[in-house]
């Protein structure tokens, strides 16, 4: 098994190098057979890495401790479910997953474009091969998952107790789907730059890939947030850890990209900006991988200090130099033919939305790197933790919500002030009404008032858009309300799907505001029969219990929960002591409702039967997860292929249009 695994990796590396080399030779000498061979060798690399993936998974599930990776990440008592997830819990396994996903996506792209994008594809394959060579080289030469232990052990080190959560099964793979997914639009962008085919074709060809990667990264972050909430026992969901930041930043840049490509598709503008955004997104995904693996920046998620950091830094530098060279040398081809018509246009609002998103990325990157900057300048290392990021990002987030609401109220190209005022009237009334109602309800913080009122404002503008569209269909197409609404969203899937995604985001924003600003906390030492009252909840301590599992010893406190005098259930927060890791872990008890979560932590206990209970009310936190479900469903809806495909041409101003002389010559048989 070990030999087969090692050979598979070696074959994958050979195939990646071969694919890259023959693609370049094929491109330079216009040899179709070489290009075809390059494409096929990518399939071979995929097959070889699939074998390696299967073998490592089997080794983990069967606890084959002859492998160093297995001995370091699983133990005899670890359930197969978590033993399988150990595939991506370590350095080598996660890099194998990265590489495998890259070959999988590359293979799909090659099949998708068998008869399409013939000029771009050789460069796409060559770029993907280049990325693959780097990752598989790390697996073969630096951190081989099939490295043997050299001696016999009967028990492995096991998986960190904090990683023994269903989140471990879904969170990292989802992030990797996102990280690797962005390699596809990046490769197309590089191909478009090299070939100078910088029209909208590369964007159209990769739109779904970009959306898929964006979704995967977003969902991965949300799963991570939920995991932190249920597992870490502090009642929060986002710690602004450098590695969390590293996965959030490419998502933000990709959000900017997904918005600004619409301007290029419609108006043939912002070419240089869009190509730079996707390059920046991919650079940030590699930066995220670098942060996790270098140990350079202290992080909860870090794999620890390793020589991989310097290699990733070199690879990052190479990508930056390579991409910057092509963007710079193609700057004339990337120059837009048109300019914005008015500041009061949807294009301008998208530009300002991009400014805010990139501004947020800059702020987060600045905060993430500031400890190193401080050390370099002052010689003193400092910490930049969650309080800093919360302070910095809140006003930026509010500006973003405002723009999200304003954008649908403005037309493409130009909106007259009177038209804007007309469209703005109802949402503005909704905003001010929400603001006043919330103020009367006792909410005082300016940011929280703004965040919730603006989110309601955004939702109202979107509902208004749906109403106007449906009403127009009912009037002009003679459709009833249901058919009109259905046809509206299914015929303009991208536009209305996008609005639904915005609704999901606003629900998330409301959830974040509620859970962060309005949380209530209480801590009390309880003896049997004692009660703890927090808001309208009454908790009665019934006693403790302890029992052993193969992995850990559990110490449980049992509490009866009453809400407004009515019994609603039993809570069992616990502390666990993991034998193998000699580590305690907190298992919280969460009672969820639409309005709030009752979050109970067993902070301590003694052998006299007394316990220390921390109770928290986290208002609206469930909205974060519900917003995530809306976002997920709406993105799938937006990505879903339509039956009819209409090719949109960029809008042109009358008398300022492009004249395709070749087309005209061939049609009219005249020399133009």
């Amino acid at each position: 098994m070990i030999i087969v695994g090692q050979i598979s990796l070696a074959i994958a590396l050979a195939m990646a190098i071969y694919s890259g080399v023959v693609s370049v030779i094929g491109i330079r000498n216009r040899l179709g057979q070489f290009l075809e061979s390059g494409r096929r060798s990518m399939f071979s690399a995929f097959t070889a890495l699939s074998i390696a993936m299967v073998l490592l998974s089997l080794a983990l599930i069967t606890k084959d401790y002859s492998l160093k990776y297995v001995a370091e990440h699983v133990s005899n008592s670890l359930p197969s479910f978590y033993a399988f997830s150990a595939l991506w819990s370590g350095q080598a396994g996660s890099l194998l997953l990265w590489s495998w996903l890259l070959t999988l996506f590359a293979s799909i792209v090659i099949i998708q474009n068998k008869n399409k994008n013939l000029e771009l594809m050789p460069y796409v394959v060559a770029t993907l091969s280049g990325i693959l060579i780097f990752f598989v080289s790390l697996l073969v030469f630096v951190t081989n998952p099939f490295e043997t232990l050299g001696f016999t052990v009967t028990q492995g080190s096991g998986l960190n107790p904090l990683l023994q959560n269903p989140g471990m099964v879904f969170h990292p793979p989802s992030l990797y789907l996102g990280y690797v997914g962005f390699a596809i639009p990046f490769s197309f962008a590089i191909a478009a730059l090299i070939t100078r085919k910088l029209d909208t074709q590369w964007i159209i060809s990769t739109r779904r890939w970009a959306l898929f990667a964006w979704l995967a990264l977003g969902v991965g972050n949300l799963i991570g947030a939920k995991w932190a909430y249920v597992e870490l026992g502090w009642g929060g969901f986002w710690g602004w850890d450098p590695v969390e930041n590293a996965s959030f930043m490419p998502w933000l840049v990709a959000t900017a990209f997904l918005h600004s490509v619409m301007i290029q598709e419609r108006r043939d503008m912002l070419k240089i900006w869009n190509v730079s955004l996707i390059v920046f997104t991919f650079i940030l995904t590699i930066f995220g991988t670098f942060i996790t693996r270098s140990g350079l920046i202290a992080s909860v998620h870090s794999f620890g200090q390793s020589q991989l950091g310097i290699l990733f830094l070199g690879f990052l530098g190479l990508i930056i130099i390579f991409s910057t060279y092509f963007v710079y040398t193609r700057r004339k081809d990337l120059k837009s033919r048109y300019h914005l018509d008015s500041i009061l246009s949807r294009e301008a609002s998208f530009l300002f939305n991009n400014l805010i998103l990139i501004g947020a990325v800059f702020a987060i990157l600045w905060g993430t790197l500031f400890p190193m900057i401080s050390e370099a300048v002052r010689g003193t290392k400092i910490t930049v933790g969650a309080p800093f990021f919360n302070t910095i990002t809140v006003p930026i987030g509010i500006a973003l919500i405002l723009l999200t609401g304003i954008c649908p109220l403005i037309s493409w190209r130009k909106t007259s002030a009177s038209n804007f005022a007309k469209n703005f009237r109802i949402p503005a009334i909704v905003f001010f009404s929400s603001f006043i109602i919330l103020f009367i309800a006792g909410i005082r913080g300016f940011y929280s008032l703004m965040a919730i009122s603006l989110s309601i404002f955004v939702i109202s503008t979107i509902i208004l858009e749906f109403y106007r569209g449906t009403a127009a269909r009912m009037k002009y197409n003679n459709e009833n309300l249901f058919i009109g609404f259905k046809n509206l969203i299914f015929k303009y899937r991208r536009r209305y799907g996008g609005y639904l995604i915005h609704i999901g985001m606003m629900v998330i924003f409301i959830g974040i505001t509620g859970a962060t600003v309005f949380k209530v906390e209480k801590e009390k030492v309880l003896r049997k029969g004692d009660t703890l009252t927090i808001k309208n909840y009454k908790l009665t301590f019934l006693g403790t219990d302890d029992f052993k599992t193969p992995l850990a010893e559990k110490f449980i406190a049992t509490l009866r929960i009453e809400k407004d005098g009515k019994y609603i259930g039993i809570a069992t927060p616990s502390k666990e002591y993991y034998y193998l890791q000699k580590q305690t872990s907190t298992e919280v008890s969460i009672t969820s409702s639409f309005k709030e979560d009752l979050y109970l932590i067993l902070a301590g206990g003694d052998d006299t039967g007394a316990v220390n209970i921390k109770a928290k009310i986290n208002p609206l936190i469930g909205w974060i997860w519900w917003g995530g479900y809306i976002l997920f469903g709406a993105t799938i809806f937006t990505m879903w292929p339509s039956k009819k495909k209409k090719k949109k041409k960029p809008l042109q101003r009358p008398g300022d249009g492009k004249v395709n002389t070749k087309e005209l010559e061939s049609k009219n048989k005249v020399k133009v």
Partner: protein
């Protein structure tokens, strides 16, 4: 039971080292807790960490608050022990101030430039659209003649 006792020992610390605090001290405690990092090396803000080191730190902070120490005094005592890295955010003075203001300066500056650029572009567009008077007269006359001819032709 041996393991259980170990577990108890871990938990028991947090239970008996908790002095009771007044309402204002509880608010101060939350502020101090979110201003400090846990010193166990987990890189988490003290509020977020649930390890025994964090429990000990919390108990110590509560004791200091119960002794009447202010937030600044407590933070200073931790900085003396562990250095500036124990603070969860940069101080708002000296070089650290750049951490706080740089993002907003950058966004403001780029936003201003973007606003100027968009205004310039849209201004150029408006200027380009201005038709010279002589051309306007020429085309106006042409249009009038064509319309007259069209109406005449229509009549006939």
């Amino acid at each position: 039971m041996n393991m259980k006792m170990k577990l108890f020992l871990v938990i028991v610390l947090s239970l008996f080292l908790v002095p009771s605090l007044t309402h204002s001290q509880t608010i101060l405690f939350s502020e101090v807790e979110s201003s400090l990092m846990c010193t166990c090396g987990c890189n988490m803000v003290l509020t977020s960490c649930q390890c025994t080191t964090a429990d000990k730190m919390r108990s110590k902070i509560k004791s200091m608050l119960a002794q009447g120490k202010s937030k600044d005094q407590i933070l200073a005592s931790y900085v003396n022990l562990f250095g500036e890295t124990v603070l969860s955010e940069p101080t708002k003075e000296g070089f650290n101030l750049t951490a706080w203001i740089t993002p907003f300066i950058a966004i403001g500056a780029v936003g201003f430039l973007l606003y100027k650029a968009v205004n310039k572009w849209s201004g150029q567009r408006t200027q380009n659209k201005k038709i010279p008077d002589d051309l306007l007269l020429e085309y106006g006359t042409k249009l009038k003649n064509e319309l007259d001819n069209f109406e005449d032709g229509d009549k006939t």
